[in-house]
């Protein structure tokens, strides 16, 4: 049950068979460049890599599509926000040349409008921002789709996280079906009574949520008392420093190879990023220059250092 909540499917693929530490290393190798890189060309290549490794791990493209659909309103907000405020808020990341005007978001003459000056540059900036969100979310989903909850706690033990924390997390995973049944039970019971948490007023919204949240929490408090008694009765707490474990994880050959590849990937990525800075193509300029060149908007000096035309 807890596996289903994460989207984990116990399959026999290369990524499923890796050590959880390597899976986390994959997650960070994919998301750290997404944070440090800005240009949509690099980010889109990274996104394609994530989709490809998701395919190798037999992640369903339908599920991925569903996540993207779930993200769509936030992405749309990001797009509109950056189109509206690019000119007034982006200063240093803006290229040295004049922006290539395309159209206004609100073209009507009214008060401070026409406003929302959309340019090739603002579109590229918004594209990069959207790419980044998708990469971070999909990398997280990928990590959880190939890592079982048991692996996650084994990883924490290996990282020498105190046993009290790993025990609590283990208990939580084991307890998820019970908590889920409790939560759905309360929500369904309240819905049967006509409960609905929808309102534009935040105070009303919180007030409407209370009939569901209060019974869920009070039941949880009672359950926690019983659980504590069950844990105590099994002798928990005796010398937590020298606990033994039924299953321990170990690095194998494929883990070392993959880990070395990831280190190389990060180093090459950073080297490309540094080279792009040196050539003046970093920070959205590379994609912008290509698009302007393709649209015939200039500057014609695509290969000119620092792009100053």
């Amino acid at each position: 049950m807890s596996s289903e909540l994460f989207g984990y499917r116990p399959l026999n693929t290369f990524f499923h068979s890796l050590d959880p530490r390597v899976k986390f290393a994959i997650f960070f190798s994919l998301t750290l460049p997404a944070v440090s890189w800005n240009d949509p060309v690099y980010l889109t290549a990274l996104l394609a890599t994530i989709l490809a490794i998701g395919g190798i791990a037999k992640n369903s493209f339908r599920t991925t599509g569903r996540f993207l659909l779930y993200l769509a309103p936030a992405l749309l907000f990001l797009l509109v926000y950056n189109l509206l405020f690019y000119e007034s808020s982006i200063v240093a990341a803006r290229p040295s040349w004049n922006l290539a005007f395309l159209f206004y978001v609100i073209p009507v003459k009214f008060w401070v409008c026409p406003c929302g000056h959309v340019s090739v540059e603002s579109l590229v900036y918004a594209w990069g921002a959207m790419d980044r969100i998708i990469i971070i979310v999909l990398s997280g989903r990928f990590l959880l789709s190939v890592t079982s909850p048991a692996d996650l706690t084994s990883l924490m033990v290996k990282l020498r996280i105190p046993s009290e924390i790993t025990t609590a997390i283990n208990v939580a995973f084991g307890f998820l079906p019970v908590s889920l049944a409790q939560l759905t039970g309360v929500v369904e019971a309240q819905r049967a009574r006509g409960w609905e948490a929808k309102s534009r007023n935040p105070v009303t919204l919180v007030r409407k949520a209370i009939p569901t949240i209060v019974p869920v929490i009070t039941r949880s408090l009672t359950r926690a008392e019983f659980l504590a008694a069950a844990i105590s009765s099994r002798g928990y707490g005796f010398d937590p420093k020298r606990r033994t474990y039924l299953r321990e994880i170990k690095f194998k050959g494929r883990d070392w190879y993959t880990f070395s590849f990831l280190i190389g990937f990060i180093l090459v990525g950073q080297a490309i990023g540094a080279a792009a800075w040196g050539l003046g193509w970093a920070d959205y300029r590379f994609t912008t220059l290509i698009l302007r060149h393709l649209l015939g908007l200039g500057p014609p000096c695509l290969w000119h250092p620092l792009g100053s035309c």
Partner: protein
């Protein structure tokens, strides 16, 4: 050799586990209050992490945030940005709990939560500006959340209303029997780190 003293007792472990599990499920099923931003909702993790911090100390709150991050859309990157709130609440909680007057307890709890939430917010601004690059400076987010009042007020209600209710109606459950070493210094360090992070994103880039 003497065995080391457990960091959490069984009751504290089970409170953190049950509330963390609930938080994880709530996130996984998208059970949240709509209206923060288009496509972004008010999540309910605040209620769970506050009760866990009250009953099990900062470690309890941290466990809830770890479990929540498994299904949160922000993922593991959001994890440390809850911690200044957890430490700040824990720092003042014992004093609030020991107040004799119920009304003073409630007022004190809401006041400490309001400050803790205000501190926590800046870390999240850093996350949205530096990591997600939603905007290039923290100020539009600060204006939206604090000048706009509604987002801050709604989150404050989530973080304080139900935990405050639990504090008044089930005081034995949230009795602070926990201890956390160097809490004052850890809290100060987390606030200073948040301040440095947010200051780095305060200018126009």
């Amino acid at each position: 050799m003497m065995p080391r003293k457990p960091l959490l007792n069984t009751k504290q472990i089970s409170v953190a586990a049950v509330l963390g599990g609930l938080s994880l499920i709530t996130e996984a099923f998208g059970l949240s209050l709509p209206g923060y931003l288009p496509g972004v909702n008010f999540n309910l993790v605040g209620a769970y992490l506050s009760i866990a911090t009250m009953a099990a100390g900062p470690l309890g709150g941290i466990i809830v945030t770890i479990l929540d991050s498994f299904t949160s859309s922000v993922g593991f990157y959001g994890l440390p940005f809850y911690w200044p709130h957890v430490f700040f609440l824990a720092l003042f909680y014992k004093r609030i709990y020991s107040m004799k007057s119920t009304a003073m307890k409630v007022v004190g709890y809401w006041a400490v939560t309001a400050i803790a939430l205000f501190i926590q917010y800046w870390g999240w601004f850093f996350l949205y500006v530096y990591v997600f690059k939603f905007a290039t400076t923290i100020w539009p987010l600060a204006v939206y959340n604090f000048v706009g009042v509604i987002p801050y007020a709604t989150f404050l209600a989530i973080y304080a209303f139900i935990p405050g209710f639990v504090l008044v109606t089930a005081p034995n459950f949230v009795r602070p029997t926990w201890n956390f070493p160097y809490l004052k210094w850890v809290t100060a360090a987390s606030i200073i780190l948040s301040a440095i992070a947010v200051a780095s994103q305060a200018g126009l880039r």
